[in-house]
Assembly symmetry: C2
């Protein structure tokens, strides 16, 4: 929707016919932000091959779909690929950009776009700051140029792993912050937990080869602050209900949408073991 | 109250007779957290010379009182002094520990105690994490030992300037975060502002000789997250009302208590000029 507003010809892909039909016929998503009238420029299809001919491919599938969808991207003709996925592939523990490489998809043109940006805020044109990161700086800059406008300021980074890990591991700490609030431990405890949570995110990211500065930036600290303190965050909501004593399966059924942190937590702990990093908050 | 609960013989000092009487006769503060029953071990006096004989001096006056109160501390016999003041001296732009030195008060035993800890949470015995910092590590450790208990975990630092600046400059960013929310710019914008605000806190602190790691810790990031996101924070409240269009004098009259950020903002901007650091958020 953000790109359609900027005048790009946007084609969405979904496996759900209901979503495709609703967008094409009513310019609305049937479930998420369904009160928002989408631009008529924004069309949708259920045929993956159609989107693979586009100039830019925005990957925004749930991380659980990486192993199923990524191999199908081999035939893409898009010179630019940008990942907005905030989770790990559960089988390989790879980040989305690492998985692109793993699945044999040429990725000299791949970047990650991350940072504090609730869909609700972006679709309303409210201001936000993001980071576009790629090992290829000119690719990071191209993506930043494509997404930037008066409301959205996109910074550049050449540490894609740090930016990916910031967006992924923050969901685990946000869950913990929710538990902290569900137990009514107070604002001081939550602020302490967020700080020590960022410290363990930084420990893991550095052990994996990313930079401290990246994690202290928008995708890392910024995204963590938003996700861990705003009641509209799905990951935080799951933690809140856990802290109040509700059972996880019941919470997820009522939520009805993806809370990446739930699937990410055991995977992050596996990474912590693999890289020999202590992560007491993620552990507990 | 925290120290009295730990069994220390605590004597408070106030220039307000009403406060002294209320604490000694009713074990309650007449205005702040006045529903809380204080320990009967906690006594108060309006005679400064009485507190100057104590083993530990906790400095918790508003920063506007530094130039008036500090010179009177010369006669103290306390081997340990810890500052809990989160503001600058307006005339000299000095931090409280720098001011102790400036006013000729021997400070080999001086430390700063800071970090996310609303009085409301501490007095209820809720968990929090703080930092005790001194150029003399054994002093930092003594203060940490004195304050630590099951609820309060106190970490050690040998970067007192970084810890002081974290607690001081965060009030300016918290004000800005309040303005952002008062203008209803959204959660994404606030998270971006907090992140870029921390970045400018770090720039100033490093230019003054403090460490990045300190500012990314509890007094810095942690305190900023708490102050900038919790509606019970006085600095945030002032920003919120400013963002909604209310005038500053009216806001301060209704608040009725100290919002250090209001006095700190112009002083931080003076420091930024002096050390040639760009601080766009504090500026605006």
């Amino acid at each position: 929707m953000h790109l359609a507003t900027k005048g790009f010809d946007v084609l969405g892909w979904s496996i759900e016919d209901e979503v495709v039909t609703s967008i094409n016929e009513y310019n609305k998503h049937p479930r998420f932000h369904s009160h928002i009238q989408l631009s008529s420029v924004f069309r949708a299809t259920n045929d993956l091959s159609e989107v693979l001919t586009r100039d830019l491919l925005v990957l925004a599938v749930p991380s659980s779909a990486i192993s199923e969808v990524f191999p199908k991207l081999v035939s893409r003709r898009s010179p630019l690929v940008v990942s907005a996925i905030k989770g790990l592939d559960s089988k390989t523990l790879l980040t989305p950009l690492q998985a692109l490489k793993h699945f044999g998809i040429e990725h000299s043109g791949a970047a990650v776009l991350s940072g504090p940006s609730f869909a609700r805020d972006v679709v309303r044109g409210l201001p936000c700051g993001l980071v576009s990161a790629s090992s290829n700086e000119s690719v990071a800059r191209s993506i930043a140029d494509i997404f930037s406008n008066d409301a959205m300021k996109v910074y550049i980074s050449t540490d894609p792993l740090g930016v990916e890990l910031g967006g992924i591991v923050k969901n685990v700490v946000a869950l913990a912050a929710g538990v902290c609030d569900g137990l009514e431990l107070g604002d001081s405890a939550r602020a302490g937990l967020i700080t020590r949570g960022l410290a363990e995110m930084i420990r893991l990211a550095r052990a994996m080869g990313a930079q401290l500065e990246t994690l202290a930036g928008l995708s890392g600290l910024g995204d963590l602050v938003m996700t861990a303190t705003c009641d509209t965050s799905r990951n935080r909501t799951v933690g809140l209900e856990l802290g109040r004593g509700k059972k996880l399966p019941d919470i997820l059924r009522e939520l009805g949408s993806v809370a990446e942190g739930v699937e990410t937590t055991p995977l992050v702990l596996e990474l912590a073991r693999k890289f020999n990093v202590e992560m007491p908050i993620s552990q507990s």
